[in-house]
Amino acid sequence: MSARDLLLKGGQIIDPSTGLNTIGDLLLRDGKVESAGDRIGTPDGAEVIDCTGLVVSPGFIDVHCHLREPGREDVETIATGARAAAAGGITAVCAMPNTDPVTDNQAAVGFVLKQGRAADSARVYPIGAISIGQNGERLAEFGEMVGAGAVAVSDDGKPVVSSQLMRTALEYARAFNIPVADHCEDPTLAAGGAMNEGIVSARLGLRGIPAEAEEIMAIRDILLARLTGGHVHLCHMSTKGSIELIRWGKERGIRVTAEACPHHLSLTEDCVEGYDTHAKMNPPLRTMADVEAVREGVRDGTIDVLATDHAPHHNDEKARAFADAPNGIVGLETALAVNITWLVKPGILSLATLIERMSCAPAKLFGLPGGSLARGTLGDVTVFDPTRSWKVDPAGFRTKGRNTPYGGQTLTGRAVCTVVGGRVVYREA
């Protein structure tokens, strides 16, 4: 708890959860929102930050990142990941359970929470595994993990291959009111694939992953959500077909929610040209038609949430022949800028909708505190400059990972100040 009040003065306060969009002041007291919008005098002893020309919004929440601890602390720790998040304007992250060992029991969940608190930066919420060891066989103990602080379950990194197991997970999760997040990939169709299947993969001689590998699992999960009434959350949707399927499910009132990631909104399979392993991720970068469809999905709400799928890897592991390199890129520190550059600047999303997808919706869908500046809400706030241009320099990242396809690019939009529980955890130097 913060002893001093914090006054964010004169910014454009945008809070889609309350419909607020005004120039004014935001006062945080005792770690909570005290008042938002009204111009107020500075309370005695309050810390004041001038937010003139900046946007003040409820803190961004990333429901999908890989913090690598325990197991690969050389690549990322919960602390470095949390600080990277804060530097990207993200006040809370959900850590995927595909660590070593897997976060598949209450003790492991407790460890992630403990490390998150010790990091003393962005909040870290654990996601528990669906199956023990993420082996896709036996259900993990959802109840105990939720009791220990897990906010969702997922076998991310791998799909839940067995439809029966997925059905059971969706049914069982209902008791705890948590989403079951699935990495949609038909493993037999995608087997050995290194990039999107198409003309580029044909030319480069790389094994392709067809869009259908994602779409088959997406529709299976949607149908299982219909069958069970459970809440399925589809991770990192990347194809035009997936967007259409999710839209179909939502139209029928099925409890399906979905996320998209900055790279699938900004880059295409052409980035793989030259065998650049920074363009290797799963799901792979797709075609321009897919990118446009996913953007439209974000715009019309078919995609509920913008997440990062932040996945740091060691440079040595990325410095390999394309097929041998691991999947994934870092994203915590570039997500806001990529989203602004490719969604807000071209006029696809308003700033308010961007904030809704990056803050309000994730809080609501994952049942997390925050995502709002209503009085009495958790004092997690992001202050950002939506017009600032900056050049991405991976060497300056707070994450240990340097694996980004955006290195050297000039992006627009940058977090200036990140506030967690009424306390500044990041402030631009």
Partner: protein, 318 residues
């Protein structure tokens, strides 16, 4: 002081028709060297070439080795079995070690697409791709072009059909780009399960039946069908493959014109090609092998020359 091909030969897709023409024009007179009693010219004296084979290969490695030796280069063969490659050394470390040993050229065969480019970006030496995964095998493509050009004079307007497992074939890709650049019409024929799904976007005609391909083509380049493809479930059986897609004498006899038959080897006789076709009068398969050495000599000759260290040695020598 750059070579007309640039530093490396990684694939035919990025070469111009002029560059390909230069390689073929250079290869022609080099064929004579292999006819001499003393099959050797001093051109690459003092140059060190490493043949780095991460994947088993007999004919390509031997062909390169002959080419190198006939140009008087010093060669070292590194094969994956028994070397540090098999001990998990990364490609990066291999590259750094090679660089530290002051070599001039590397011929690399690797099972990953893009491996040659990966190496080329990390070392100063010239890199020649001797086959990377399912991407390209440029010297094979070049020797195929040379073989056809010797028969036809020009490839313009000629029809060449690549038959078989195009999906997994680096030879197919190098052939498609090379043939198209030299003005030939290119088709592919094989079961759709062995063709890339985006094959239509590569500017080639697709024949589902070998009979159609034979009716259309001036030459067939018959690819090797890896036995693993059956185990991988791409085709039901080799027997059926031969019956439906095999290039057989009976099928060729029905062709409206003479068709040249090529095969990059090693052949699975009785699977993708029958023996009496492979050994028949229209087979140019052995010409391909002969041309392979000449084309590789040409590539070595054309790539050499932007090595500063060799330039120094040359000044001090002779």
């Amino acid at each position: 002081m750059t070579s007309p091909l640039g530093k490396d030969l990684l694939g035919l897709e990025k070469l111009t028709a002029e560059q390909i023409g230069l390689i073929l024009d250079t290869a022609e007179p080099l064929k004579e060297i292999s006819e001499r009693t003393i099959k050797k010219v001093p051109t690459l004296r003092g140059a060190t070439i490493v043949n780095l084979f991460f994947e088993a290969s007999t004919r390509t490695r031997i062909s390169f080795e002959f080419a190198e030796k006939r140009m008087s280069a010093d060669t070292v063969n590194v094969a994956s079995a028994g070397s540090s490659i098999s001990k998990g050394e990364t490609l990066v470390d291999t590259a750094r070690n090679l660089e530290a040993m002051k070599i001039d050229m590397v011929v690399i065969r690797h099972n990953s697409s893009g491996a040659a480019q990966f190496l080329a970006e990390r070392i100063e030496s010239n890199v020649i791709n001797a086959g990377d995964g399912t991407h390209e095998h440029p010297t094979q493509g070049l020797l195929d072009l040379l073989t056809l050009r010797q028969r036809w004079g020009s490839l313009k307007g000629r029809k060449v059909c690549i038959c078989g497992d195009v999906l997994h074939s680096r030879v197919a890709r190098s052939n498609i780009w090379g043939l198209q650049k030299l003005g030939a019409e290119v088709a592919v024929c094989g079961p759709r399960s062995l063709l890339p799904s985006a094959i239509g976007e590569m500017g080639v005609t697709v024949f589902d039946r070998i009979e159609q391909a034979i009716e259309w083509a001036d030459a067939l380049n018959v690819l090797r069908l890896q036995l693993e493809r059956m185990e991988g479930g791409y085709i039901p059986s080799l027997r059926e493959y031969n019956r439906v897609f095999g290039v057989t004498r009976e099928r060729l006899d029905r062709a409206p014109k003479e068709i040249l038959i090529m095969h990059p080897g090693p052949m699975n006789r009785g699977v993708e090609i029958d023996s009496d076709v492979a050994d028949g009068p229209h087979s140019v398969i052995l010409d391909q092998v002969t041309n392979g050495v000449a084309v590789r000599m040409a590539v070595l000759y054309l790539l050499a020359g932007n090595s500063p260290r060799l330039a120094e040695a040359a000044k001090g020598g002779v």
